[in-house]
C-alpha cells in the first residue's frame, strides 16, 4: 500500500514564501500555525496527501521538518501543530500573524487514502502524533461515505496536554467519527472522557470491527508503538494493515543526506508512513 510510487522530479532546494494566516496555542508549548503560499498559482499547485511533511526554512536559523496537519480536501491553506523543543522552533514561535516563512515540499510518502476506501479504520494517536493524524481524520470527515466504521483513539498525558482538544471534542460531538479521548492522568478532576492509557481502549473495538477488513493508523511517541501494535495484533489486524508514521532526523527530504535511514530505507522517501509488516524486523525502529 505504501510502496513508493514514481516520485515527481524534485530538482532544487528552492523554497516558496508562505504567509502566516493564524497562530494559536494548542498547549503550553505547542502552537497551531496556518499558512498560505503567497504565490497564488503555487498555492493551487500545492498538492499533498495526509502523512506528508514540509520543510520550513528560516535563514540564519536553519531548516526543520514538520508534518502537515491539514487535509488536502480543504484547499487554500495548510496547517501545522508545532511544539517548541529546540532552537528552530524557538525562532519560529517568535513569528507573528502576517509574517512570512519559506517552505519547500511536500515530501515523503503519505497515506494512500483512496486505497483505504471501504475499510474499517482504527486511528490511534498519542501526544504530538495527533498532528499528522488530524490530517487523516479531517480527510475522512470530508469523505465519510467512502469509509466503513472509523474509530479514533487519542491519548495525552493530561487534559491540558491534549493537542487540538477543541477540535477533537467537537469531533466527538459530531459523531462522524467514533472518537475516544483519553488522558493518562486527570489532574483537573473534570475530564469527562476516558482516563488511562490509550492502549486500554483498543480491546473493546474487537467486537465492532471486521479485522480482515480493518486498517490501523498509528502515530505517537516511540514508546507507544510497541504497546499499541501488540493490542492491534491481538485483534487479528493483518500486519500489512498496520500503518505507522515514523519520525527521523532529516536534512534534505530527498533521500540524499542519509540521516533518516532506517534499515535500508530512507524515511523521507519511502516513509514516513510504513506498514508494520515492512519494518517489523528492523530493530532500531523505535
Amino acid at each position: 500500500m505504501t510502496a513508493s510510487k514514481d516520485k515527481e522530479e524534485i530538482s532544487t532546494y528552492k523554497t516558496q514564501p508562505a504567509e502566516i494566516l493564524a497562530i494559536r496555542d494548542l498547549t503550553d508549548d505547542t502552537r497551531y500555525f496556518k499558512l498560505r503560499c503567497k504565490d497564488i498559482t503555487m498555492n493551487k499547485d500545492f498538492q499533498y496527501r495526509p502523512g506528508q511533511f514540509v520543510i520550513f526554512s528560516l535563514p540564519g536559523v536553519g531548516e526543520a521538518t514538520f508534518s502537515l496537519s491539514s487535509t488536502p480536501t480543504r484547499r487554500d491553506f495548510i496547517e501545522f501543530g508545532i511544539r517548541k523543543v529546540g532552537s528552530f522552533t524557538e525562532a519560529l514561535f517568535k513569528l507573528k500573524k502576517g509574517d512570512t516563512i519559506d517552505i519547500r515540499g511536500p515530501y515523503g510518502d503519505g497515506f494512500e487514502m483512496e486505497d483505504l476506501r471501504g475499510r474499517d479504520l482504527i486511528i490511534v494517536s498519542g501526544g504530538l502524533g495527533a498532528v499528522p493524524l488530524r490530517s487523516v481524520l479531517l480527510y475522512i470527515e470530508d469523505r465519510r461515505e467512502e469509509y466503513n466504521k472509523v474509530f479514533f483513539l487519542n491519548g495525552a498525558r493530561s487534559p491540558k496536554d491534549m493537542l487540538y482538544k477543541r477540535d477533537f471534542i467537537a469531533m466527538n460531538q459530531r459523531q462522524i467519527i467514533d472518537t475516544h479521548l483519553a488522558v493518562d492522568e486527570d489532574d483537573t478532576g473534570e475530564w469527562p472522557y476516558n482516563v488511562g492509557f490509550v492502549t486500554q481502549l483498543i480491546p473493546k473495538l474487537g467486537e465492532l470491527i471486521d479485522s480482515e477488513n480493518t486498517t490501523a493508523i498509528i502515530c505517537g511517541p516511540p514508546i507507544m508503538y510497541k504497546f499499541v501494535i501488540q493490542e492491534l495484533l491481538k485483534l487479528n489486524i493483518p500486519k500489512d494493515q498496520i500503518l505507522m508514521t515514523l519520525e527521523r532526523r532529516m536534512k534534505c527530504g530527498q533521500g540524499h543526506c542519509g540521516h533518516c535511514a532506517v534499515g535500508g530505507r530512507y524515511t523521507c522517501l519511502e516513509g514516513p508512513v510504513f506498514t508494520y509488516y515492512d519494518v517489523q524486523h528492523i530493530k532500531e525502529l523505535i
Binding site: 530538482s11 532546494y13 535563514p59 511544539r83 540524499h256 543526506c257 542519509g258 535500508g264
Partner: protein
C-alpha cells in the same frame, strides 16, 4: 601513446580547465591543483581523500541571505579535470552518481559533476587494496579517458564524448593503431596485476547474509567499545556522502550563509531528533548502521554494496575498525554457529 609524449598530453588537458592530479606530500598523496607537469606523481595506491572532494566537497555554501532576501549559490561553471583516478574511485563516483543523479537530482552535485572531467589511471595494489574482492578492480565506464601505464607506453581508453573530444584534439600525440604485441603486453600486465592482490574480504558475495545473521552479534559491541566516533572512516570513504546543513550568521547580524558539510553516521547525535530523542545513542548502534548500510542495505537498493575496496578505512581508522576486520569478525562469528565455513 608513447611515454615521451605524456607531458605534452597533460599540457593539452590543462587548457580544458583547472587541472588536479595526485601530488606527493609527506609520504601521503592528495589530489591538488597542478601548475606544472613535474608536480604529478602517479606512483601511488590511494590518496587520503578520494575524488569525491570535487563533487561533494567537505563543506560548501548553498544559500546566501541578507536581512530581506536570499540567493541560492550554485557551484562555478569552471570545468575541473582530475587525473590519476584509480578504478575503485571511478566505481565510487558511479555509486554517488546513482544516488545524487537519480530521479531526484541534487542541483549542487549535478553542476559539479557536469563540469568534472575524469581521467583514470591504472594502478598496482598494495596489501590494503581489496578491490578484487569487491569486483571494482577494473572499470569499463564512468570516466572520460583512462590511461593504462605499461613499460614504454600508455594505452588510452575513451569513455565519453568529452573524452573523445580530447582524444581527437590530441590526435598527433596518439597512435591510432595498437599492435598485437602491445595488446599482448597489456594482457600480461593485467594478469600480473591480478595476481598481486594479497588481501581479500572473506565470502564477500555472502556478506549481506552474514551481516543479517549477525545482527545481534556481540562483535558489534566489541567494535563499538573500540570506536572513537571520530568520523575518519566517513571522511576518507569514497562513497560516504551523508551531509549536514548549518546556517551561519555574520557578525553584523544582517547577512549569513547556509552551508552543507560532510557528516558521518558514526558521530554522536547523527540520529537525534527534536526533543533530544536519539535513535542511535551508542557507538555500537552507529557503527552497525555504517557497516550494514554500506555492505548490506545498498544491495537491496542498488544491487551492489557501496564498498569499492579502496583500502582507505584500512589505512586510516586509528583503532583498526575497517571493512576487513569487521567482515572477518562477522565471518568467524557465523563459522562458530553454522557449518558454512567448509565451502
Amino acid at each position: 601513446m608513447s611515454k615521451e609524449k605524456f607531458p605534452e598530453f597533460v599540457e593539452l588537458i590543462k587548457n580544458k580547465g583547472k587541472l588536479f592530479g595526485p601530488v606527493k606530500q609527506k609520504e601521503k598523496y592528495s589530489y591538488e591543483e597542478i601548475k606544472d607537469y613535474s608536480e604529478l606523481d602517479f606512483d601511488f595506491q590511494r590518496t587520503i581523500i578520494s575524488p569525491k572532494k570535487f563533487i561533494t566537497p567537505a563543506k560548501y555554501t548553498t544559500l546566501r541571505f541578507v536581512k530581506f532576501g536570499q540567493t541560492e549559490v550554485l557551484p562555478d561553471d569552471e570545468p575541473q579535470i582530475v587525473m590519476g583516478v584509480h578504478p575503485c574511485d571511478i566505481h565510487a563516483i558511479k555509486i554517488l552518481d546513482r544516488l545524487f543523479l537519480g530521479n531526484i537530482k541534487d542541483p549542487y552535485y549535478a553542476k559539479r559533476r557536469e563540469n568534472l572531467i575524469i581521467i583514470g589511471h591504472s594502478c598496482l595494489p598494495d596489501d590494503k587494496c581489496v578491490c578484487q574482492s569487491t569486483g571494482t578492480d577494473m572499470v569499463e565506464d564512468g570516466f572520460d579517458l583512462f590511461l593504462t601505464e605499461l613499460d614504454d607506453f600508455y594505452l588510452l581508453w575513451v569513455g565519453s564524448d568529452k573524452g573523445l573530444g580530447i582524444a581527437i584534439e590530441a590526435e598527433n600525440l596518439l597512435e591510432e593503431n595498437v599492435s598485437e604485441e602491445e595488446i599482448q603486453e597489456y594482457v600480461r600486465w593485467q594478469q600480473e596485476r591480478s595476481s598481486m592482490f594479497t588481501t581479500s574480504i572473506p565470502s564477500y558475495k555472502y556478506l549481506a547474509d552474514i551481516i543479517h545473521l549477525n545482527y545481534d552479534s556481540e562483535v558489534w559491541e566489541q567494535f563499538g567499545e573500540k570506536c572513537l566516533s571520530c568520523g575518519t572512516c566517513s571522511l576518507v570513504c569514497p562513497t560516504c556522502n551523508c551531509f549536514h546543513v548549518d546556517d551561519k550568521i555574520m557578525m553584523n547580524a544582517e547577512e549569513g550563509i547556509r552551508e552543507r558539510m560532510l557528516d558521518s553516521c558514526t558521530l554522536p547525535y547523527y540520529s537525534m531528533v527534536a526533543g533530544n530523542h536519539d535513535f542511535r545513542p551508542d557507538r555500537t548502534a552507529r557503527l552497525k548502521l555504517y557497516y550494514t548500510h554500506k555492505l548490506k542495505e545498498y544491495i537491496g537498493r542498488w544491487g551492489q554494496p557501496s564498498c569499492v575496496g579502496c583500502g582507505r578505512c584500512i589505512a586510516y581508522c586509528p583503532v583498526d575498525i575497517n571493512v576487513i576486520t569487521v567482515s572477518n569478525a562477522l565471518f568467524e562469528e557465523v563459522c562458530e554457529t553454522q557449518e558454512v565455513c567448509d565451502q
